[in-house]
């Protein structure tokens, strides 16, 4: 009975020890990791992902190193620029272990080491620039910091792939004054543009006025020329007409003049009578003139009547011989 109990106890111990040994012997490294192997605490080799068998007790797993690319947040820190502005800077680091053994044993606290390196290098890079530069040349800062950190972490078997500054924050009052400066700059530009616009408009208006005055004067000049020409032509025509009339008079009868005058008078009277707003006719000229002209008409008529009967009788003209 007691022997059976002892046997069962021993069996349990053996099972326990055996299972532990088994678990120590067969090791499965997951993808994305590499495990270092130590022989009595001294590094011997690195296990790739997959199933491995280790002699228990003698060999043991040392460090389990993540071989995937990892992201580290660089905590926000105050950095002083070249022109003594204090800015808050944070960032992000992408790195990947290339050599598991070096990452395991060359550096004690890998992440803290990387972070401190990055932070000090960011301070250096921004400290050599003034504020405006550090705000506008992030690429340059990133490259500078990346180069320095990448070289520095090589002994630890790391590849730093990328370092980005996430946020560069100047202090609140500085941001306000920057905004004010920008606003003032834009307002200045707007005012200048407006003033230029007014100036150009005034110039254009003045030029337009000048042009119009010139054109008007030219028009008047032209008109005067034409009017003078017209008057000249009229005078010529009148002279010609007068000449023709006087020729006609000298060649023919004085009564021709009378005929003309009579015609004009009658025409004048006709237009006076036809005028719609004329209620009564003023007679500004002497009635005697008209009467005289009528006498002239009478004379004309008389002469014509004297000549008519002889023509009607068909007799030869009475004035003959002499």
């Amino acid at each position: 009975m007691e022997g059976e109990f002892m046997g069962t106890f021993l069996a349990m111990v053996v099972v326990f020890a055996g299972v532990i040994l088994l678990f120590k012997t067969v090791r499965m490294v997951p993808q994305g990791y590499q495990w270092t192997v130590e022989r009595f605490g001294r590094y011997t080799h690195t296990m790739d992902p997959g199933l491995h068998f280790l002699m228990p007790v003698i060999y043991g797993v040392g460090r389990k190193i993540n071989m995937m690319e990892q992201v580290l947040e660089v905590p926000s820190q105050d950095v002083i620029t070249k022109d003594n502005a204090v800015v808050k800077v944070d960032g992000i680091v992408f790195f990947q272990v290339q050599d598991a053994a070096k990452a395991a044993y060359e550096v004690a606290t890998l992440e803290i080491a990387i972070l401190n390196l990055v932070m000090t290098n960011i301070r250096t890079a921004i400290g050599s620039m003034d504020l405006d530069e550090s705000l506008s040349k992030r690429d340059e800062i990133n490259t500078k910091v990346l180069n320095a950190v990448d070289q520095a972490t090589h002994p630890w078997g790391l590849k730093v792939n990328r370092i980005e500054l996430k946020d560069i924050q100047p202090p609140r009052d500085l941001v306000d004054s920057m905004a004010r400066q920008m606003k003032a700059e834009r307002e200045k530009r707007a005012n200048i543009l407006e003033a230029e616009g007014f100036r150009q408009a005034a110039i254009l208006k003045a030029e337009g006025e000048k042009q119009s005055v010139i054109l008007e004067a030219e028009g008047e000049k032209e008109a005067a020329f034409r009017q003078a020409e017209a008057r000249e032509r009229l005078a010529q025509a009148e002279a010609k007409a007068t000449e023709m009339v006087s020729n006609a008079i000298s060649a023919g009868n004085v009564q021709a003049i009378n005929y003309f005058i009579a015609q004009k008078y009658i025409e004048a009277f006709k237009s006076l009578a036809e005028a719609p707003n004329q209620k009564f006719v003023m007679m500004p000229m002497e009635s005697a003139g008209i009467i005289g002209s009528l006498a002239g008409i009478g004379e004309l008529a008389k002469e014509a009547l004297e000549r008519q009967p002889s023509r009607a009788a068909g007799a030869p003209p009475s004035r003959s011989g002499g």
Binding site: G7, T8, L10, A11, V14, V15, G18, L21, L22, T25, V26, M28, Q31, G32, Q34, P49, L51, F53, M67, M68, E69, Q96, Q98, D99, L146, N147, D150, H154, G157, K159, V160, N161, R162
Partner: protein
Amino acid sequence: MAWTWQTVSWAAIAMLLFAAEALAPGAFMLWLGFAAAAVFALAMVFPGLTVLAQVAAFIVLSFASIQVYRTWFRGRERQSDQPLLNRRAEQLIGRVVVLERGIVQGRGRVQIADAFWDVTGPELAAGTAVRVIGTDGMTLQVELAG
């Protein structure tokens, strides 16, 4: 033939181990399962075996079955179709890149994606196209791409 609790429990353990293997593939429960099944067979054939002997047999057979796996089955496993996973430097072999800094004293530098890599190779001026032919930990070995 001895259908006792002890013998049947080996069969149960074997079943449980197979089930565990099915739940967590890639582990080695399968081989422990085979060992347990073998112990069950032994216990059926030799009813006189003590529990201690059975357990010892189980442990020994477990190691033996794992050894069998290592020698016979290891080479026939399906290989990864992405053998270069997590090996950034080796993934770059065959790439043609332009030297960012000329190779002086056997050392220069190239930029691939966002990262800068140190390279070793023949003396070449900056701006020359080079092909990555190998890696040496953190540095790439290059030759003139032609």
